[in-house]
Symmetry: C2
Subunit: 479 residues, 2 copies
């Protein structure tokens, strides 16, 4: 770690990355390589002796970049966006540069304290209830992903219940969510040992725009109670992965409270939009939740990974996740003067991730971020309108944020053929390299998803994307 070598090579890497962004539109958005391609390009063993930065950067260009799917391309509309930004990038650099491991407060007080402060800032921007702020029993924490967020709160909720009714009751615990909930919930259940037959995946359909119906939840809970089971965890959604469905939080929260269930709200994607006053309504009812999650790395200009989790009861987390061996003991922790975030998460070690979200907030400011969100929603409206003007296509669910769910309409009411054709269209547009969209299924129908949210996307990209989709579609229809 020579500071002058770091300076020299670091500058070279900055230029490499800046040049990458300058030319990012020249790459196929979805990588077009075949499985195993890299195996043939790299040696079988590590080199014994040093190679030069030039050699490595050459290999990045010629061997790595062809295998990259360009998430930061303005023509990336798949899944949900994963926002990078100059501020986020600077934060990543600084975090890597300082190279600290902030598991306990003492291992870098600034890492813990900046995280508390920035999560409080965000909670205020989202107008979350006071109980989520760090000054009382609540607080926010940065997790790596929404999967980890839902897992840690499920473990906290599980252990809270089992502490009072005995650990042998694990097989009686029941989890509730709509069938639109992210697979992260299913995975959390698997890891936490919740029995699969006790995971209630409640059907949501187009009649509610794929939101969970409170009556359905209430019925399921009542049935389980009668059967002697123990409802303990409810996951509500604000902006589902398939179609940005928004569950009615207040009504769901009431049922959760009445039945002493932990109520987790997954707003991984759409949470970002809720800093805008006009979208805040979508998390109305969050005051009934026990935990709330939003991914700053999706649509908030903060480089992956940065998933923000707030809880009202930090002790539920720390009681479930603490381990305090002698080699980690220190005065500040033992005097309970500080947060030790190691007890709020799965791993022990943690990076200085608050730097990047702090830099995003400071270098852009809240107003700019609001307008950033609004611009993507405006572009999504443009795309939605283009789709709805074409008789060969239909918009499948009313657009709420910046995702448009659409498909080619069925011919002769043949839904099966229609599904196949939409998958063909997906394949055709993505293998063109000009754009990348993804798909989902809603009530058995294959649906195409155009999620607008890459930082570089402008109206021209949206219009050009639609043109490519139309061209490929008419080719398919002519076939």
């Amino acid at each position: 770690m020579d500071s002058e070598q770091l300076r020299e090579y670091g500058h070279r890497m900055v230029d490499f990355i800046a040049d990458y962004y300058k030319t990012i539109e020249s790459f196929p958005v979805l990588s077009q390589v075949q499985p195993g391609y890299l195996h043939n390009l790299l040696p079988d063993t590590a080199p014994d002796h040093p190679e030069t930065v030039e050699q490595v950067l050459d290999d990045v260009k010629t061997k790595i970049l062809p295998g990259v799917t360009h998430w930061q391309s303005p023509n990336f509309f798949a899944y949900y966006p994963s926002n990078s930004s100059v501020a986020g990038f600077l934060g990543e650099m600084l975090s890597a540069g300082l190279g600290i491991v902030g598991f306990s407060w003492v291992t870098s007080p600034a890492a813990t304290e900046l995280e508390m402060i920035v999560l409080d800032w965000l909670a205020k921007l989202l107008n979350l209830p006071e109980q989520f702020l760090s000054k009382g029993n609540g607080g926010g924490v940065i997790q790596g992903s929404a999967s980890e967020a839902v897992l840690v709160v499920m473990i906290a909720a599980r252990d809270k219940v089992l502490r009072s009714i005995g650990k042998n009751a694990l097989g009686k615990l029941v989890v509730y969510s709509s069938d639109q909930t992210h697979s992260a919930l299913q995975k959390a259940c698997q890891i936490a040992g919740i029995h699969q037959e006790n995971c209630r995946v409640l059907e949501a359909d187009s009649s509610t725009n794929y939101a969970l119906r409170p009556e359905l939840l209430q019925e399921a809970v009542s049935r389980d109670l009668e059967a002697g089971l123990i409802p303990f965890f409810l996951c509500g959604n604000v902006g589902t992965t398939s179609s940005t469905a928004v569950d009615p939080l207040a009504a769901l929260g009431k049922i959760a409270k009445r039945n002493e269930m932990w109520f987790h709200v997954d707003a991984a994607y759409a949470g970002s939009a809720c800093i805008c006053p006009e979208y805040r309504q979508y998390i109305d009812g969050v005051e009934t939740a026990d935990s709330f999650n939003m991914n700053a790395h999706k649509w908030f200009l903060t480089n992956f990974d940065c998933s923000l989790l707030w809880v009202k009861d930090q002790y539920a987390l720390t009681e479930a996740l603490s381990a305090n061996p002698e080699f980690l003991k220190n005065k500040a922790s033992q005097a309970n003067l500080v947060f030790d975030y190691k007890d709020w998460q799965i791993p022990l070690g943690r990076r200085f991730r608050s730097l990047k979200i702090w830099m995003v907030l400071r270098l852009y400011g809240a107003e700019t971020l609001k307008n950033y969100i609004r611009n993507h929603i405006k572009l999504a409206k443009v795309f939605e309108q283009l789709v709805s003007q074409d008789p060969d296509f239909e918009v499948i669910t009313p657009r709420i944020f910046a995702l448009v769910c659409f498909r080619m309409v069925p011919v002769d009411n043949d839904e099966k053929k229609c599904n196949g054709r939409n998958l063909e269209l997906l394949e055709a547009v993505n293998s063109s390299g000009k754009l990348f969209i993804s798909h989902t299924a809603l009530s058995g129908r294959i649906v195409l998803r155009c999620a607008i949210g890459a930082p570089l996307t402008e109206e021209k990209h949206v219009k050009e994307t639609w043109k490519v989709i139309q061209e490929k579609a008419s080719y398919l229809l002519r076939k």
Copy 2:
């Protein structure tokens, strides 16, 4: 994300970080701030409007850096090192620059394939058995931390057993390890729902240099089998956190195999040393293990986080951790042509972490890395000798790698007073700001730990550190 702004600000940040390393010895190694210090220095809410890079970097200097504990300082000897390097830093930059999320192969084939290749390279450097390579049923994967590594293999092992004997048998599953095992194991048990009374924490003492005795394990297993319990998981250590103890892998593995237990080897710290032929002996017996873990982010010049996990049976992992919703389906995955690392880990999303370890291996080469390790061990020998020459001190366990466990000797055989005095010494040297060491307890005795492994540490730092410790000790003795 403007490429020219990224260039300009990126260069500025490179200089900031290079300057930081140039002056790193001028900071107190352990941050000397008081709990809550930052709260008074930052505003209560995020700014509405953009601030300048200068303002932010000024704040980093004046408000953040005082709260940083300088893990990269040459005088950092606490816990275990967390290596940063120019190559690791470049890898982090490139990963942040590309901004991909590599959960499935298709989301960036290069990310998955480079990870497979580099983990194979490392497996060969460590001379791991063939079954850990990616070409058969095994393979390597990058986890965030050793905690996640042990958790995922425990979940895999748990579910493998429960699939055959029924999930209601969870309360019968037993985990074994020595009492020197990292607290990550205890945490994994908590998360996986293993009953606390079924966690066998077997005593290890100075008679075996704190290694687990196979007879003790065999006795415990036999007792549990007689009681109708089900031994299912054994964690062995190569280089414990307290004192770098090395368990006898071959003998432990034999017992594990005979009883159909999953045998995990935690070589988080010492694994790196085993690329040197003269230290490879410490993982002899790894051929009996089901999984093996080493943290490249500890002592292998790869910036945190980068924890390497190899398994012989990838399907045990993927059966326990897979979730395949429609919105993630794609041709390559469905045809089983590729690894989808999302099914080898807790979270869904993942960064392009293989870039940094690839850059470390290429820019330094295996021979340089071996000599890097050897140099730290040589410095540890210097420190060990200095300690053993001072009659007021003693080396507590024979040094194996680059950690020296030592303490001030008891006066008048008063062990209690001796513990107190060593904690006082710890406090005195760390609050001097000149160095940072940490402590542990071995058989009830407080022990000081000097872990040599920061990339910038030279012999002069080790000697100066010893001088400070001696000075503070003689002050305490005079008191």
